[in-house]
Amino acid sequence: MSDQAPLVVMDGLTIKAPSRTLVDGVSFEIHGGRVTALVGPSGAGKSLTARAAMCVLDVDPGLVAGSLRFPALDPKVDWYEGVRGGGMSAQRRLLARTRHLRGAYFTYSPQAASSALNPGRTVGRQLAMAISRRQTVPNDVAAEIRRILGQVGLQPWASGALPGELSGGMAQRAALAVAVAPKPRLVIADEPETGLDPVLRRAVVELLVRVCKEEGAGLLLISHHKDTVRRIADDVIQLKGQHGETGGTA
């Protein structure tokens, strides 16, 4: 366990939909520099939980219980204060209040990673915009862009390319680059292995883990592949249908 403050502390997260409880009393901690896997059967609420950790709550009535802290940022603030039981309007206010965190403190890489890219802007431009979200922006942004591209295994020319001009695998790497460019504390990768054959799955996951570790970011990986979780996860959050618990090292 790292002796730094945890990045995310979630306690008793409970999210309800009109007809049923979507997430019931989930608690976990995510630490920087470690890989945390979020696993569970489909419908268990993995994506929902990950989004809730980013203060994105889009269900009505939604959050009814739970507290959320980012100790590495500010140990005292409970971000769910005033949101619990407040319905969609409170959740929308939370969304607005925490806008500065998304894309800076944490970044989110959706399932089809390449769809996270803006098809109308070049990769270089998107990287530059991501870099500008950092606490301290480097003087030579172009050099930094080249460095990040190299880190994910892309050639410098990819900087001038539009996402549509890249092959599937390259677009995925570009999406990863954009996710780590703001030097976030936490990268949330939502099922990045979907639709890939086994060798490619391993390659993508290993790249994700390596780049996050190199950049000093924590990684929250949502996955349903047991072999992946077994091999790379330092911690496991198991959503069993409804209840969650933080397991030890997988």
């Binding site: 059967p41 489909s42 419908g43 979907t194 639709g195 054959d197 086994p198 060798v199 490619l200 799955r201 391993r202 390659a203 290993e206 349903h224 072999d227 992946t228 091999r231």
Partner: protein, 317 residues
């Protein structure tokens, strides 16, 4: 799995010396075109009642092989025999009436359904047009088949109102209603959640008519292991291992990685164009005498098609 292949009866599918080369045009009209050797010599037989998995990475040729078997593409060389009748090189007019027996479950379920037809209408049309049933019989059978696949409540739903799994099951219903002799399923569980995958495969393989063969094209090895009698692992257009996973584990260095990608070092090199394609990344290449792996592409041994066969110089068969 509770059915065994009938290896004493004539095979449902015979593939001999299958080769498929695509010509890829260059970027400009004057550029040289490139030849893509998608399939470089594939032979196999499938017995009645046998479920076979074609596994491999994208680009291995598995999808091309499955499409050629169904007559959706013509081979460059080789022969396809279905139920003892020649299938390749035959005109589409001759093939069409027989397609009832050799059915395809495409990867994209939504794209195979008519957005303006309900689940029931799809299956009824199949039974009346292809199955020769009367409208009344077709309706009864269609309802029975759909209920059997858990779509009893969705009979009148349009594809856009259905989940991915439900759409998939409509395509299955339509195919299985014809009681075919062969079903070729191209990655039938792609895009589905893990729990749904299991039920789709159960629906497919559990409802195959007796004596029907099935080719499952997949890159999910656990599926292959759980549902298939034999696995054909493909690499660079050839079969490099044929194994019954219920009895033995794969031994080819590449096949081993396919089944457990974390078991060895991750392959990073491009495939070799001479000798064994896997040589650049193969941990066992150094165990082989001289330069054999660089020079000579290994053949599938032993020759007996129903044994465990491997194409690797480092493996002693």
């Amino acid at each position: 799995m509770n059915r065994e292949p009938d290896i004493d009866s004539p095979p449902v599918v015979v593939v001999k010396g299958l080769v498929k080369t695509f010509v890829q045009a260059g970027a400009f009209p004057w550029s040289e075109s490139r030849e893509v050797h998608a399939v470089r010599g594939v032979d196999f037989r499938i017995a009645p009642g046998e479920v076979v998995a074609l596994v491999g990475q994208s680009g291995s040729g598995k999808t091309t092989v499955s499409r050629i078997v169904l007559g959706l593409e013509e081979p460059t060389e080789g022969e396809i025999w279905l139920d003892g009748q020649r299938w390749d090189g035959v005109s589409e007019n001759e093939r069409r009436p027989k397609r009832v027996n050799y059915q395809y479950v495409p990867q994209d379920a939504m794209g195979a359904l008519d957005p303006q037809q309900t689940a029931l209408e799809h299956v009824v049309e199949t039974l009346t047009v292809l199955g020769g049933r009367s409208p009344e019989d077709a309706l009864l059978e269609a309802v029975a088949m759909l209920e059997n696949l858990g779509l009893g409540q969705r009979l009148h739903a349009l594809p856009r109102a259905m989940s991915g799994g439900e759409q998939r099951r409509v395509t299955l219903a339509r195919v299985l209603a014809l009681r075919p002799r062969l079903v070729v399923a191209d990655e039938p569980t792609s895009g589905l959640d893990p729990d749904r995958r299991e039920s789709v495969l159960e629906d497919l393989i559990g409802n195959l008519p007796d004596g029907a063969g099935c080719i499952l094209v997949t890159h999910d090895m656990s599926e292959a292991r759980a549902w298939c009698h034999r696995i054909f692992a493909m690499l660079a257009g050839r079969i490099i291992e044929v194994v019954d996973l219920r009895a033995e584990e794969p031994v080819h260095p590449y096949a081993s990685i396919l089944f457990d990608p974390w078991s060895g070092p991750l392959p990073t090199q491009p495939l070799a164009t001479t000798g064994c394609p896997f040589r650049p990344d193969c941990p066992k290449a150094s165990e082989v005498d001289g330069d054999r792996c660089s020079v000579e592409e290994p053949g599938l041994l032993p020759a007996d098609p129903r044994t465990h066969r491997v194409a690797c110089h480092a493996v002693d068969r």
